[in-house]
Each structure stands twice: as structure tokens, then as C-alpha cells.
Symmetry: C2
């Protein structure tokens, strides 16, 4: 039972699969989701793939009394698809758009057009400040040969950077969303280890839901089970993460997922299962909020993080190699287009070169070939520009990772020279932060 020092917070997360004209039974499913949310009255609702603003506004109307506060994150061409509803007032909002997110010419997959991002809202829950994040990473279309892995790793890197750097000063951090990564995938480990966030599923005292916490299950009528290969029953790619602070300890009392079908309804809420976590917040008498950006890490954790960031760096390097190759191909295609154009012009100018003096270059062929050359040149130019941007983003992430590994290794050295744990972060240091030798 709750006493005056504890608060219970219910957090809901769902990938709504709300693609206009493409997602089956979209409107009926949104009606079902709206009913569920207004009935259940979760404190915080984190939605993904709400691609249409109309659908968001429909939900907003429906939830105006149960969830008076909301924010819709706009980004990219279609939007970020991210939306949040809250019973507690939203104080501030900020969006970070990932620097990499697939390719625009893979239009049938649509990820690039979605402008995938991480959205942050700052909630005031009484006198508590909660930093709540919602995100959706690039989809995994083929696990065996996942060409988007470097992009997703960079997204996970940027996600943990964003959370680490912006959550300082908060009493409570919550992250919900569809990471499109399994629990033991590189990106998930990177996120968990670097931020100190806890996974609701592994931490919960009580779980009720699909086998192994799956959120993308083979039984779902909207899923083609072949897409899940090599996993027969399902995968866990949606999460609710959380962490407390010096002022608040957080415990996950229970975690539940929907189980496919919905009572009295012909189909489930979405092609993903929804997650609901019940968090118990307990007032801590001592300490302050998250006053430093780095989690307080022990030597073992630091070493683990060094390994994970090194692994991520390797993956980014693979991505760099592929992006360089792609850019080279675009440049070569452009050069070929230009050569073809020059050749055509030469033939047209001096017909005897190829066709003989009595056979002028047929006009129609001339124009058709010219148009083709221009099309090749222009496309190659656009692709070259795009791949250069991809390269810069990958190199930027790799630079940051190298810096992080260096910094972590330095801290590890501090441990080995028998300095006390978390010497940089100790609150007592704040009493006398100066140890620089004054100049002159």
C-alpha cells in the first residue's frame, strides 16, 4: 500500500502501426486504443508510429479528460510518429533527430521518410521532475544480412548520448519505445550500460504477458511469421526502461503486455503488443537528483562499457567501409554518365566518327541518349551527396566513440591506481571543485 513517501506511476508504450491507407483496420484500432487508454488512465502514454497527425488529434480529443497533456513530435517528411499523453503537466519538450536513418530511395520501407528521432518531455509530477523519452529506431528487415545495423548502432549511440546529457537534474528517467533491437543486441547493451537504465521486463517483480516478454509475436494476425525468421514464436523489441536518482528510488512492481487478441474485438490493437509498467517511486532521504551525466559505474561495469563501445565502433567502421564503397560506385556512375554524354556530343559533332558522313546522328536517339545521360549524372550527384552525409555521420559517431573509450579507459586507470570509487562524481567533491594549479 502506498504511503505519503511513495507514488505509483503507470507507464504505457505501444507501436500503433498507424500507416494511412496501408495499415489494416487503422481507424477501428485507434478507437480501441483510445478506449483502452481512457479506461486504464495510465499516468504516461508513449506511442510510436502515429504517422498521421489526424490520428493523434483524434486520440487527443478522446483523451482530453483522462490525459489533458500531450505532445506530438514532428520530424522528417511524414513525421517522427512519436506521441505522448500524460496525466501530469508537460513542462518542456525537445526532439533529437537521428543523424542516420536508412536511405530515401528505399521508399517502400519508408524509414528515411519517417525522420526517426527521440522525443523528450519533462513532466512535473508533484514536486518531482521526470524526464520521459520516447523513441523508435530503424527497422530490422533481415537479421541474417542486416544492412541497417550500422545505422541502428549509431541511433542507439545517439540515443544514449541524448539521454545521458539531458537527463541530468531529473528525479526520474523513463524511456519507452520500439527499439527494433533484441535485449542482447549491441545497441540495447550499449544503451543500458551507458545510461544505467533498467529494463522493466528483467527487473519486474511480477510479469503478465506473452511468453518471454515478446512484443512482436508470430500469432499476431497482422504479422507474416516469415518476417520473424529465425524466431518462431516472437521477439522482444519494445521496452520500458527506467531509473531513479539520489532523491527517488524506483522499483518495477509489475510489467504486462497485451496478449494478441482483445476481448470482444476481432483483432488486436496493433502488430506489436502494448507494454504497461507499474513503477513504485520511493522518496530517498539523502542525496540529490541526477547531478552528473555519467552513471556511477564500478570498475567491472566500466570495463564492460569499454568492450561494448569498442564493439559498436567496429560495427560503425564496417558501416563506414560500406558507405565509402557506395559513394565510390555513385562517383563512378557519374563519371560514366559524363563520358557517355561527351561521347554522344562528339559523335553528333563529327558524325563520320561512328556513323559515316552520309548518316547523321538520328535526332530522336540524340535527345533520348542525352536525357539518359543527364538523368544518370543527376542521380549519381544526389547519391554522392547523400553518401557523403552518411559518411560524415558515421565518422562523427566513430570519433565520439573513440573519445568515450579513451575517457573510460582513463577512469579505469584511476581505479587501478587505487582511487576511491567514483572519485569524479562524489558529491563531496562539489565542496571544493578546484584543484587546478592557478596560472602564474
Amino acid at each position: 500500500m502506498a504511503d505519503s513517501n511513495s507514488v505509483r506511476l503507470r507507464v504505457f508504450s505501444l507501436n500503433c502501426w498507424g500507416i494511412r491507407y496501408l495499415s489494416k483496420h487503422r481507424l477501428q484500432r485507434y478507437a480501441m486504443i483510445g478506449e483502452l487508454l481512457s479506461k486504464e488512465q495510465h499516468d504516461i502514454v508513449l506511442l510510436q508510429e502515429v504517422w498521421s497527425e489526424k490520428d493523434f488529434l483524434g486520440l487527443k480529443r478522446k483523451l482530453s479528460s483522462s490525459h489533458p497533456h500531450s505532445h506530438y513530435f514532428r520530424s522528417g517528411v511524414i513525421g517522427s510518429g512519436l506521441a505522448t499523453f500524460s496525466r501530469h503537466s508537460i513542462h518542456d519538450a525537445f526532439l533529437y533527430r537521428y543523424s542516420l536513418n536508412g536511405y530515401p530511395y528505399m521508399a517502400h520501407q519508408g524509414d528515411w521518410f519517417g525522420g526517426k528521432s527521440v522525443g523528450m518531455v519533462i513532466l512535473k509530477i508533484g514536486r518531482l521532475t521526470a524526464h520521459v523519452y520516447v523513441t523508435h529506431l530503424h527497422a530490422e528487415y533481415c537479421r541474417e544480412k542486416d544492412s541497417y545495423l550500422p545505422h541502428r548502432v549509431v541511433q542507439a549511440w545517439e540515443l544514449q548520448q541524448f539521454i545521458r546529457h539531458t537527463s541530468c537534474g531529473s528525479d526520474l528517467v523513463i524511456l519507452g519505445g520500439d527499439l527494433n533491437m533484441h535485449p542482447q543486441d549491441l545497441g540495447t547493451r550499449l544503451l543500458r550500460t551507458s545510461t544505467g537504465l533498467l529494463d522493466g521486463y528483467t527487473e519486474t517483480a511480477k510479469f503478465d504477458g506473452c511468453e518471454d516478454g515478446f512484443t512482436h509475436v508470430a500469432d499476431n494476425p497482422f504479422i507474416n511469421p516469415k518476417e520473424l525468421y529465425p524466431f518462431d514464436k516472437g521477439i522482444r523489441i519494445d521496452y520500458i526502461f527506467y531509473k531513479g536518482s539520489g532523491t527517488v528510488s524506483v522499483r518495477c512492481e509489475s510489467l504486462s503486455t497485451t496478449k494478441g487478441s482483445v476481448p470482444n474485438q476481432p483483432f488486436p490493437y496493433s502488430d506489436h503488443e502494448a507494454l504497461c509498467a507499474e513503477l513504485q517511486l520511493q522518496n530517498q532521504t539523502a542525496g540529490g537528483g541526477n547531478t552528473r551525466k555519467e552513471p556511477d559505474l564500478a570498475a567491472g561495469k566500466l570495463a564492460e562499457l569499454v568492450d561494448i563501445v569498442t564493439e559498436a565502433r567496429t560495427e560503425v567502421k564496417v558501416g563506414l567501409h560500406c558507405a565509402e564503397r557506395r559513394r565510390y560506385t555513385a562517383a563512378r556512375t557519374g563519371v560514366m554518365g559524363l563520358a557517355l554524354l561527351l561521347l554522344e556530343l562528339a559523335i553528333a559533332a563529327v558524325p563520320c566518327l561512328a556513323l559515316g558522313a552520309d548518316q547523321p546522328f538520328p535526332r530522336a536517339s540524340f535527345y533520348l541518349l542525352g536525357a539518359l545521360c543527364f538523368a544518370i549524372l543527376f542521380s549519381a550527384f544526389l547519391l554522392y551527396v547523400f553518401y557523403t552525409m552518411e559518411l560524415k555521420a558515421l565518422q562523427g559517431a566513430e570519433d565520439q566513440m573513440r573519445l568515450a573509450v579513451g575517457s573510460l579507459q582513463e577512469r579505469l586507470k584511476e581505479f587501478s591506481t587505487a582511487q576511491p570509487l567514483n572519485s569524479i562524481c562524489r558529491p563531496s567533491d562539489r565542496q571544493d571543485p578546484f584543484c587546478l594549479e592557478p596560472k602564474e
Copy 2:
């Protein structure tokens, strides 16, 4: 004279104007800049427009002993142009790329290709943590009719959001760069008021430099004075901002700018003047770092901020209106291209429609017209996609501004109902952050 409780920190900022093949005397100027920096040994060096990585690496080699720590921020197609050198160790780096930054088809201006951003490095200065930001905003090409104003306002909005949300927990915040905004411009006021950052030029005890602190002066041989119109002598668009925290108070002891010519050299360092601030940090016995993201604002400041954000919102709405019009034009052009293509196909299929049965559609004209139609359609599609992204970014910023105004007005109301100053931010609140009514 410095005592053990005080530290002097020298910060340098310069827009290097380092465009390969275009910027005059680039290599000689970099050599001069390198010499200046290695001689002066500033603690922190913030550079903008270092467009070529080769130039950065050249500087890095030259400064390897005076400034052993450095970071180069990569972004966009050419790069962000941002670089930082430091005598103190760089602990972490993070980049935020602005969501809006001009148009790719304005290739001669080049802003879009630059991927303008704000870069952050976290320095360890003894036991102090300093958050150091470097940025470069979109250029102002015509002050009378500044079509990039909404983009620059959104950049200023995102800049202040980024600094507010990431600087928490720091002892010292420094921002240097070329804002391309005058001191009383909307974006500068927005940045200053919302973050609480102090402008080195207005705060300094001692100033030595160009008249009125100008950093872009008419006398500079690389500048066409007409570009400065209606300002005859120069403008101040480069800044060093700073603020302390509960642990450290900061005073700007002196600020200087270069004054065009360099002794024994035929030309100045750049088309901008360099800035150098000498900051005096003083240990504060009480308090902690920047534990909350909002600056502690009095009622007057809050009201001023509400006005400024409202003004920014109006500017963004103007931008929205223009972007909508541009997108509409792109859509209309696309429809016209499609209509032309269909018309051509109809004429080719049924020649008697326009040309009479005995006159078939000339093949060359058919292909040429077809290629033109496709070119129109493709360009219109690309522009439509781009303008949609622009619209989303503007709408997103406007949403955030609306939320911020609401939140600020709420705090103003709290003031009027006689609540004590900064009731949300008082450190004493952290002793008992819970005042939520427990559920059930």
C-alpha cells in the same frame, strides 16, 4: 592575482573562413592562426568554418604540444566547420544538427551543405566540469529582406534548448561562435534570456578591440563593404558567452578582438575578427552545479522571456506561411508537369488531335518533351519532399514554443499568487520532492 580559490581561463573564438579553393590566402592564414594559438596558449579555442578536415589536421599537428586535446565536429555534406582545441582534457563530445539550415538549391550560398550545428565538449578543468559549446548559424545575406530569418530563429531556439538541457550539472558553461545575429536581434535575445548566458562584450571589465566590439568590420580586405549595408563600419555577430553555477562564479576580466591587420603580415587572420575572453572563475563555498535546466528567473525576466518567445513564435509562423506557399508551388508545378506529359502521350497516341492524321508527332520533339516533363516531375517531387520537411521542422519548433510560453505563464501565475521566488528550483525542495497525492 589568482589565489588557490580562483582560476583564470582564456577562451578564443574565430570564424576562420576556410573554404577550399575559394577563401583567399587560406593556407597562409591558417599558418598565422596556428602560430597565434601556439604562442598565446589559450585554454579553450573555438573555431568555425574549418571546412576542410585537412586544415583541422594541420592545426592539430601544430598545436599538439600547446593544445593536446581537440575535437572536430562532422556533419552535413561538407562538415559543420566546427572545431575545438583545449589545454584541458576533453571528456565527452556531442553534436546537435539544426533541423533547418537553408535550401540545397542555393548551392552558391552553401549553408545547407555545411550541416550547421552546435557542438558540445565536456572538459575537465581540475575537478571542475565545463560544458563548452561552439556553433555557427545560418548567414544573413540581406538584412532588409532576410528570407532565412525563420531558419535562424529556429536555430537559435534549438541552440538554447540544447544548452539548457545539456548543461545541467556543469560548473561552468561557455558558448563561442558566429551567430550571424546582432546583439539585439531576436535570436540573440532569445538565447541570452532563456539560458542566462552572459555576453562577454557587455560584461567585461576591460575591452580592447574594434569599435563597438565589431567582429565583421568594413575595413577588412576580404569583405565587400556593400555586404554590410546598412552598417557602414561593421557589425558584431561573433560572441563569447559564459555563465557560472552554484559552485563557481565567473567574471569576464577582459575581452579583446583582433583589429584587422596583423603585425608583419600582409592580411588579417580571417574575414571575421577573433575574440579572446579572459574569465576569472571563483570558487563559491555554498550551492551545487547547474542542478536544474531552467535558469533561476525573476518575475520580470519571466515576463520578458514570454514576450521574446511569443515574438519568435510569430517569426516562425511567418516562415510556416512562406514554406506552405513554396510547397504549394512545388505541388502545382508537379501537376502541370504531369498534365503536360499526359497531353503529349495523348497527342502521340491520337495524332489527329493536334497535328492531323498525315503529320505524326516528330520523334525528336516527343522524346525531348517527355524528358522535360520527367525532369519537371522529379524536381517538383524533390522540392515537395524538402518543403514538407521544412514545414515539419517549423511546426515542431512552434509547438515547443507554445508549450514553453504556457509553462512560463504558469510560473508567472505562481509568482502572482505570492509564491516564493523560484519555488520550482529551490534546492530546499529537493529534500522532499514528493507532494503528489498517492493513488488510492
